[in-house]
């Protein structure tokens, strides 16, 4: 199988380049990450992040044949050769396939991603019905891989100001939680020409999410709530 991989080591290279690799193997049941590990066994200077190898930690997001995804749950057999691998777009490259995720995390932190409830906690659990809890499905499962946000043109142009789909999905996760009491502050915080309203519904994010989550729908719900509270 043939691979073409983005390489850049600021310690040694003047500029990035693509490097070709070949592995003598059948795709079989293998995932892309398995192949990358074999490549790294040949050339240990290839840098990438990896951890869980089962699609739950969000470490190995990269741009695979032009589309963002997780290497560990992308079957080799689904990919056209040569398999072209690049770092996630729109974030500064640290080295090879490793990007600086800080602009992404900064936006995540900016939405106050924690439950706000100022009542004294009860002796036992706060109650929540299964229907109320079901509102959080499709939201809390986010693994912060950044596949969505780094496929969003609005984020590419305004990484400092636009929260981006992952952050907005989490903003909605807390608004939608019946235990959270900060809805109006959360909406105030997003009522801004950039933070929320840079989203133009292009839906790249939905297409990119390897966990099948739908940030566009969540963004739509936040916008709907803002409209409702002004009328």
């Amino acid at each position: 199988m043939r691979f073409s991989i983005y390489r850049f080591d600021p310690d040694a290279d003047a500029s990035p380049h693509m490097k070709d690799y070949e592995l003598a193997l059948e795709a079989g049941d293998m995932m892309l990450l398995d192949a990358l590990i074999l490549i790294k066994a040949q050339d240990d200077s290839l840098s990438l992040r990896k951890s869980c190898r089962e699609g739950v930690c969000g470490s190995d997001a990269m741009n695979i044949n032009g589309k963002n995804g997780l290497a560990c749950i992308t079957p080799l057999s689904s990919l056209k050769e040569p398999i072209e691998l690049r770092p996630l777009p729109g974030l500064p490259v640290i080295r090879d396939l490793v990007v600086d995720m800080e602009p992404f995390f900064k936006q995540y932190r900016s939405i106050k991603p924690y439950l706000i409830n100022n009542d004294p906690p009860p002796e036992t659990e706060r109650l929540q019905s299964p229907q109320e809890r079901a509102e959080l499905d499709g939201l809390y499962e986010c693994i912060l891989c950044a596949c969505c946000t780094t496929s969003c043109p609005s984020f590419w142009w305004n990484p400092e100001k636009f929260v981006g789909p992952a952050g907005l999905l989490q903003a909605w996760r807390f608004i939608a939680d019946t235990r959270d009491q900060a809805t109006s502050e959360r909406l105030d915080d997003l009522e801004d020409p950039y933070r929320l309203f840079r989203c133009h519904g292009i839906m790249n994010c939905v297409d990119a999410c390897p966990k099948g989550l739908n940030p566009t729908e969540a963004i739509g719900k936040i916008k709907g709530m803002m409209v409702r509270r002004t009328v």
């Binding site: 080591d9 600021p10 310690d11 040694a12 049941d29 790294k40 066994a41 050339d43 240990d44 200077s45 840098s47 990438l48 992040r49 990896k50 951890s51 869980c52 190898r53 089962e54 699609g55 739950v56 930690c57 969000g58 470490s59 749950i73 079957p75 640290i94 080295r95 090879d96 490793v98 995720m101 995390f105 932190r109 106050k112 991603p113 924690y114 439950l115 409830n117 906690p121 002796e123 036992t124 659990e125 706060r126 109650l127 929540q128 019905s129 299964p130 109320e132 809890r133 959080l136 809390y140 499962e141 693994i143 912060l144 939680d177 235990r179 959270d180």
Partner: protein, 584 residues
């Protein structure tokens, strides 16, 4: 070398490290949390089935019953003071996580959903209990993200992608901090702290087939071992009954809790023979051995008869989609079957390290020294999977690890607060304090070598897999030790090809392999020394448990010598559960 100063240095941002960090940050202390991966990428994220605590939301319950089950599950090797403490604190720490925002699944009455797990009983060995609190089958994910979120709120200081290399101690043995490698820049950093807490997680990567993430390389154990601290009960490794055949990815015990069961090649529900009462929900060691025997005796499934099947389609589509959505995703991706229709091929797979860095039940590291077998090391703490408290003894019950992270994360934080009050300043760092760490880093600058790290890594895993697996015997273990010694010598002759400073993962992997070697040696030596079968340690040549000679904890030193210390059979306030025959 750059230096930073904090009240507390916490190494590890998994469930354990972040629970402790939250407590200390909220109390106003200056806390540094170092992690080699971004916090939410820690392996706690992969925990599926849930966290066990006697809330009694589904079946009547009592923490004392939980304690009984845990003592029995541990095959009586667990320390009963620590087990009492954990089970008693269980409900409180779970409610607290709910208050922090953890999105638990819910029952119709709005309370936290609980499911049955293996080894759980009512009334000291009676009917099956439902004690494991769950957020669908993503409990670890929900817990880890919630803890990270609360730490953002508490303004904990994170050093993300910093690889801790070695502890810094003074001549008296007091812990003064840690030297870490800033992975992005390739520079060492000295973090000075009045107290140091190890929360580095497991080391399942010593085995070829493992449910563990790539980062589970036992770094904390390597650091402790190099600092002269022996490792406790390392022969006890849990093989999870249901890892996906081939891939090793875990299928939670929650599947059997929800009604799934195992069948062999003849279509027989074989657990009925091994555990007539609890069947598929017997202790994990019991189920894993039963599967290994079925396969060994030719009753496996598939053309090679090398696995068994986990059947769950009868649970029903709605239940599976609601309670086990992550499992379905894993089965589709890694086993290429849709569990709504077909069973999942599974094999026992290395999963959890019961042993670790010895501590008492408030998290402080204890070593055999002048005053006895358990003298506290000032300023040094360990919690979570890297520690051996020991609440899991010879076999951990499902759902008890997530509980252990929270309970002892909190307990250690409380003890650290007392320690900081008593020790307002710390002694200066001796000039040679960082030397051990710097020498380790310098070693991998060497450019000449005849061996490759990736080859030694793979061979070490193969040796442990075939010489120290589910069933063990003297000759096989001894041969394994000799082969491992060879592998270690090869590692001494290895070099890496990448000498860049920037995000050099070849260097990280080499340093991790050194830690795995420490863990592998402690494991196989402890296993060879223990001539009985107890919990997860099953010896073909010594098939019985031997309480007269072996009701004691192993302490493996780095030089190969082995010590023992007594099990703490006396709980804190209740009466002891004396050892008896263990049947399910």
């Amino acid at each position: 070398m750059e230096r930073r100063k904090f009240d507390v240095a916490i190494i590890g941002a998994g469930g354990a490290g972040m629970r402790a960090a939250l407590q200390l940050s909220s109390a106003g202390y200056k806390v540094a949390v170092l992690s080699k991966v971004f916090p939410t990428r820690s392996h706690t994220v992969a925990a599926q089935g849930g966290i066990t605590a006697a809330l009694g939301n589904v079946t009547e319950d009592n923490w004392l019953w939980h304690m009984y089950d845990t003592v029995k599950g541990s095959d009586y090797l667990g320390d009963q003071d620590a087990i009492e403490y954990m089970c008693r604190m269980g409900p409180q720490v779970v409610y607290e996580m709910e208050h922090f925002g953890l999105p638990f699944s819910r029952l119709e009455n709005g309370k936290i959903y609980q499911r049955p797990f293996g080894g759980q009983s009512r009334n000291f060995g009676g009917d099956q209990a439902a004690r494991t609190c769950a957020a669908a089958d993503r409990t670890g994910h929900a817990m880890l993200h919630t803890l990270y979120q609360r730490n953002i709120q508490a303004k904990t200081h994170f050093f993300v992608e910093f690889l801790a290399i070695d502890l810094v101690r003074d001549a008296e043995g007091r812990a003064l901090g840690v030297v870490a490698l800033d992975m992005e820049r390739g520079e060492p950093l000295l973090v000075e702290a009045r107290a140091t807490l190890l929360a580095t997680g497991g080391a399942g990567r010593i085995f070829q087939a493992s449910t563990n993430a790539f980062i589970n390389t036992g770094d904390g154990l390597g650091m402790a071992s190099r600092a002269g601290i022996p490792l406790e009960d390392m022969e006890f490794w849990q093989f999870h009954p249901t890892g996906v055949m081939g891939a090793g990815v875990l299928i939670s015990e929650g599947v059997r809790g929800e009604g799934g069961y195992l069948v062999n090649g003849a279509g027989e529900r074989f657990m009925e023979r091994y555990a007539p009462h609890a069947r598929d929900l017997a202790g994990r060691d019991v189920v894993a051995r039963a599967i290994a025997i079925e396969i060994h005796e030719g009753r496996g499934c598939g053309s090679r008869k090398d696995h068994v099947l986990l059947k769950l389609d009868h649970i029903g589509k709605d239940e599976i989609l609601d309670k086990l959505p992550g499992i379905r995703e894993i089965a589709l991706k890694f086993a290429h079957v849709d569990p709504l229709e077909a069973p999942i091929p599974v094999v026992p797979t290395a999963h959890y390290m019961m042993g670790g860095i010895p501590t008492h039940y408030r998290g402080q590291v204890v070593v055999p020294a002048r005053t006895g077998p358990e003298e506290a090391v000032p300023g040094l703490y360990a919690i979570g999977e890297c520690a051996c408290v020991s609440v899991h003894g010879a076999n951990r019950l499902g759902g008890n690890s997530l509980l252990d992270l929270l309970v002892f994360g909190q307990a250690a934080a409380e003890h650290i607060v007392e320690f900081l009050k008593e020790n307002p300043t710390s002694p200066p760092i001796p000039r040679e304090g960082p030397d051990l760490a710097l020498a380790r880093l310098a070693r991998w600058e060497r450019r000449e070598g005849t061996e490759r790290v990736a080859d030694v890594y793979r061979d070490m895993q193969g040796i442990m897999q075939s010489h120290c697996g589910v069933f063990r015997r003297a000759e096989v273990l001894e041969e394994g030790i000799a082969k491992l010694e060879e592998a270690r010598q090869r590692l001494d002759r290895a070099a890496i090809g990448d000498h860049s400073k920037v995000f050099n993962t070849a260097r990280v992997e080499a340093l991790e392999l050194e830690n795995l070697m420490e863990v592998a040696f402690a494991t196989i030596r402890s296993a060879a020394a223990r001539t009985e079968s107890r919990g997860a340690h099953a010896r073909d040549d010594y098939p019985e448990r031997d309480d007269r000679n072996w009701l004691k904890h192993t302490l493996a030193h780095r030089d190969g010598t082995i010590d023992y210390k007594p099990v703490r059979l006396k709980p804190l306030t209740v009466s002891s559960f004396p050892p008896k025959t263990r049947t399910y």
